[in-house]
């Protein structure tokens, strides 16, 4: 009883803090990422108080139908990134490992499963879900992970199955994925107890598309030399397009961010003070080491100007038709970077190499993320063959800091930069 009361009071406090923040934001000229994230998480964590519903959803899942139905989407993967950045991944993974989960399993899954049982991590755990939405366009692990959580929280689970698009998106695939969107709407009607709001979905879909266009425009500013932003900045600013895609907040924030980056370009300010070498990053960041890596590369006057990871939230833009959101969303979700063949991935990497005019390609072989890491050696070879730029492979893990070897990684980066410098000076 005592525990229930203190839990309730805590929720009330979180709710009030969120409302207060929103009020102060109203008067603030520049709203920061932290402002938005605090309001977002306090709303999600106090949803029970206001009668709202919370859905946990995979990062590549279609979030727009949730927003159209006023369900607050929460992302265990975004939470995983926060856990990693707070260097709490190792200890939460240990909780899952003690429950019997293998250390070879994805560290987002392990830290999420561990965190759900202890309400640990930087924000005291995620709010309990009313439903789960899982799309396997990013990996196969999410299927079992979400099934486990559906059992643990005893809530309904919707699975959107996107076939792997080795080379093309066939008519059969299109019909198959599109039909599941109809199932998704029915699932939401049942979970929310009211008719699906298609009119609102169109508005949300439009905002989602606009948000992605803006995010792409922000990332594009890195084409400028010196680049006004680095991939490390992109890793930070990414949070909104992931969590609030389809809302006006995203538009407001990225409109401001784009203007900010353009202003930096106009004033000649680079993310790395003396940018001499430009690099492309592949895979999910090593969340627990972003600052260290950023300083390490900057010490060599190297800027990681772009990355394949943050581009994923606008990488399928070409398939989206804002006038036909539902049909095109099916295709856009099936054809994301992690759900296509290695040759196509390599093609996209090479496009980015040319677009951002980089001197090298740094690949994080991420122990956790198998679909992202599996074809990397082939992609590296294709890049070396097609563009002849030096590539560097770093073995680490996005969240589990126990797998990181600082002196090894440090030597690799130093040696790699020695090669890059030699090559560039020869030109």
């Amino acid at each position: 009883m005592k525990k229930t009361i203190s839990e309730f009071l805590k929720t009330v406090l979180i709710f009030l803090a969120g409302r207060f923040k929103r009020l102060t934001m109203y008067f603030k000229k520049t709203k920061t990422m932290k402002d938005y994230m605090m309001v977002y998480y306090s709303q999600a964590k106090s949803a029970k108080l206001t009668g709202g519903k919370v859905a946990w959803i995979t990062s590549g899942g279609p979030v727009e139908p949730l927003i159209a139905m006023d369900v607050i989407p929460v992302y265990p993967e975004n939470h995983g990134a926060m856990i990693g950045a707070s260097k709490m991944g190792g200890s939460l993974c240990e909780v899952a490992e003690a429950m019997g989960y293998s250390a070879d399993l994805c560290s987002y899954a392990r830290s999420d499963i561990g965190c759900a049982t202890v309400n640990g991590g930087p924000i005291g755990g995620l709010p309990k879900p009313d439903m789960l939405v899982c799309c396997n366009n990013i990996c196969g692990t999410v299927l079992k992970w979400y099934e486990i959580q559906a059992r643990y929280f005893n809530v309904p689970l919707f699975i959107l199955d996107t076939p792997f698009c080795h080379t093309e998106y066939t008519e059969e695939m299109a019909r198959y994925v599109r039909a599941q969107f109809d199932d998704y709407f029915v699932f939401l009607e049942k979970a929310c107890g009211r008719k699906f709001d298609f009119e609102k979905l169109n508005r949300v879909g439009y905002l989602s598309h606009q948000g992605q266009l803006l995010w792409q425009a922000v990332l594009d500013t890195a084409m400028h030399k010196p680049s006004p932003m680095s991939a490390f900045d992109a890793f930070y600013h990414l949070a909104l397009i992931v969590t609030l895609r389809g809302t006006k907040e995203v538009i407001d924030y990225y409109t401001w961010l784009l203007a900010y980056m353009k202003d930096r370009i106009a004033r000649g300010i680079g993310a790395v003070p003396n940018e001499k070498y430009r690099l492309l990053w592949d895979n999910i960041p090593i969340w627990h080491r972003t600052r260290w890596l950023s300083e390490k590369f900057a010490a060599h006057n190297a800027c990681l100007v772009a990355d394949t990871y943050t581009t994923a939230w606008c990488g399928a833009l070409r398939y989206i038709d804002e006038n036909n959101f539902i049909d095109s969303a099916a295709e856009a979700h099936a054809r994301i970077y992690l759900n296509i063949g290695v040759d196509q991935m390599a093609k996209m990497v090479i496009e980015m190499i040319d677009k951002y005019d980089v001197d090298g390609f740094v690949l994080h072989s991420n122990r956790s993320c198998k679909p992202y890491s599996f074809g990397q050696l082939d992609i590296q070879k294709i890049v070396e063959r097609e563009r002849g730029i030096p590539c560097l492979m770093l073995e680490a893990d996005m969240t589990d800091e126990r797998t990181f070897s600082e002196s090894q990684i440090s030597t690799r980066i130093d040696a790699y930069m020695e090669i890059i410098k030699e090559r560039k000076n020869k030109k």
Partner: protein, 255 residues
Amino acid sequence: MRTAGIDIGSITAKAAIVEDGKILGTKVIFTGYNAEAAGTKVYEELLREKSLDKSAVEKIVSTGYGRNSVNFADKSFTEIMCHAAGAYHLDKKVRSIIDIGGQDSKAILLDEHGKVKNFVMNDKCAAGTGRFLEVMARALEVDLDEFGEISVKSEKPSKISSLCTVFAESEVISLIARGEKRKDIIAGIHESIASRVASMSARIGLIEPLMITGGVARNSGVVKALGKKLNMKIEVLPYAQVTGAIGAAFLATTL
């Protein structure tokens, strides 16, 4: 011009002094727990042996894991750069290097001017390194320096399948318990290192002539197993262990 190179590895600290393209002398000591002190000690001992004063050396380059703790060095380079420079000065024809040190192994590709074209390093794991051999020598109660000699007598190397040093050690202990011959177990250990290094090297594709450097090059058993596994001739020079320090000394001439 007289220059010096200091290579602080995880197990040994090496120093080399070169003068006008010639190697004046080299020295190897154990690193111990204080990398900084080891750097000073190995350098001063070498100077004393060669009856040289500190002022007689113009530039110093440090390398190896302890490269940043050599505070009297003018500059530091990674051991990849230094092994490449060292190997190239020892043999201009060399195009690939396998360097097996105490805590890591590397394969390095060189261009025709001795510059690093590409390299690959082992994952953060002791298998395929000198440390792996040290652990095994302890388990087998054999002096590491005798490893090579003992293993070449083996006709039927034991099979060590584990990729993990700790598991491989228990595998070795169970082989001992099963009564397998020491020479076969040691030969099996060498083959296990050779497989590990060979599969890593395949990532960049080795080109002959191939040279082996680093402390493990002193072990003829590993060199033999590696040559067999790669189906390549491997050049082993008496300077193998100090190649990084020599390379550092040569790089110092360019400062």
